[in-house]
Amino acid sequence: MLKNRVLQFLNRRGVIEVISLCVAILIWEMVAVFVIKDKGILPSPHAVFLAYFELFDLIPLDICTSLLHFAIGLGAGAVVGITLGMLMGWFRTANRALDAIIEVLRPIPPLAWIPFAIIWIGLTHSAAGFIVFIGAVFPILINTYTGFREVDKTYIDAAKVLGCEKESKLIRLVAIPFSLPYIATGIRVGMGVGWMCLVAAEYFGVSRYGLGYRLLCIFFPLQMMDRVVAYMILLGLIALVLDRVFRYFVDERLLKWKKGMVTQ
C-alpha cells in the first residue's frame, strides 16, 4: 500500500529530478562543511546562496554587460554567417572562392583572436563581442550552407513551374524557408559556443562589468570562491534560459510546420 503510494509519487513529473538535485546539494554541503572544511577550496552551497544576497546590486549590471557583449557577437555572427552560408550554398563559385579561406580560419580557437581583437578594436565592448562573433559565426555559416545545399530539387522545380523564375525569388520563397530549421540549429549551436567564449573574452578587461570579468578578474584574485561559484551557476542558468527562450520561439512559432523534427 505505502510502497505503491511512494512509487506513484515518484512517477509524477519532476519529482525524481527535484529529489536528485536536492540530494546533490546536500552531499555538496556535507562534503564542504565536514570533509574539506576550507571554503577557499570548496565553498558550501549555503555560502554561495548568501553570496547572491551580498551581490544583489552588482548582478544585474554584470548580466546586462555580458548580454550586451553576447548580443553584439551573436548578432554579427548571425548576419555574416547566414549571408555567407546562403551565398556559398546557392552559388557554386562563391563556395569555391570562400571555402578554402573558411576552412583555414575555422579551426583557429576563438580565444586565439583575443590579441587582435584588442589591437584592432581596443578595450571596448565590441572587442568582447568580436570573440563571441568568432565563436558563433562558423556553426551558423556551416548550417546555413548545409540547408541551402539540401533544398529539394522538386521544390525548386515546383516553384519554377508556378512562375517563380528569378533567382532572388527562388532564394526568398523556397531556399530560405526550407533552410530555416538548419539556420535555427546553427544559431543554437553558435549561441552555445559564443557563450563559452564570452567569459574568457571579458578576462581582458574590456569593461568594468560583466559576469566573466567579475568572476575571473575580481573574485578569483581575491579568493572569494563562494562568489566564483555563484557566478558560475549564474552563467549556466542564463545560457539555459537563453536556449529555452530561443527554442520556444523558433519551434513554436517559426517551425510549426516541422513539429518535433527540429533541434531536439
Partner: protein, 255 residues
Amino acid sequence: MNHKLEIRDVTKTFETEEGELMALDRFNVGVKPSEFLCIIGPSGCGKSTLLRLIAGLDEPSSGTIILDGKELKGPSPDRGMVFQEYSLFPWRTVLKNVTFGLELRKMGKQERYRIAKECIELVGLKGFENMYPYELSGGMKQRVAIARAIAPEPSILLMDEPFGSVDAQTRNALQEELLEIWQRTKKTILFVTHSVDEAVYLADRVAVMTARPGNLIKCAGIDIPRPRKRTSVEANEFREKLLMWLSLERSKVQD
C-alpha cells in the same frame, strides 16, 4: 493545325559520367485542345524527361515544342505540373501552397484567397485550408498539388504519375475526381502513367512509349463512352491490346 501542343522531333541527351545518355530520340506527338492524353511506358523510358521539357524545366537537345502555335521558351504559368514526388512546400499551409503561383502574379490578397479556396473546394479539401502538408495523407497531398497547379489557370496540365504512390482505393477516387475537374475546366491534360488500368480509365488517347531511348510505338484513341466502367468488356479488350504492345516492346529489349 488544330494542335494545342506539338512535340516535333524532340531529342534529349544527358551528359553523364559514363558518356552520353539518350533519353528521348526524335519524339513526336500532338495533343488536341481539351484532350486527355495518357503516356504509358516502362520506367526509365523518358516520360518524366518529356514532361520536364514541356514544362520548360529542361531544354531539348534538338527539336521543337510548340504550344498554342508558339515555340516554348522556359517555364511559365500557362502550363501547370503535378509531380511524381510529393512537391508541396512543407512550410506553407494548404491554402498558402495553392496561392503560391498567384502571389507571383501580384494579385491582391482577397482575390488570391478567393481563387485558392475555389480550387481547394474543387479537389474536395474544403476545411483543410490551414493544415500543413505533414498533417495530410498521400492522396490529400496530391489533391492539394492539383489545386496548386490549376489555381493560376494553366491551359494545359502536365501530370507525372501523380497517383503512383497512393493506395489503390484512393487512386480510384482521385482518378474520378480528376475526370470531373477535367470535364468542368476543359483543360488539356497530359498524364504520364505506367499503369494500363489507369490509362484505359482516363484517356481519350493513349501513347505507348518504347524503352530508352524513348519513342512512340503506338498512339491509339480509346472511344469507350464516358462515364466508363473499369470492368466493362471494351475496357478489358483495350487493356489486352495495350498489354500486348507493351510486352512486344519488352521482348524486343531483351533480345
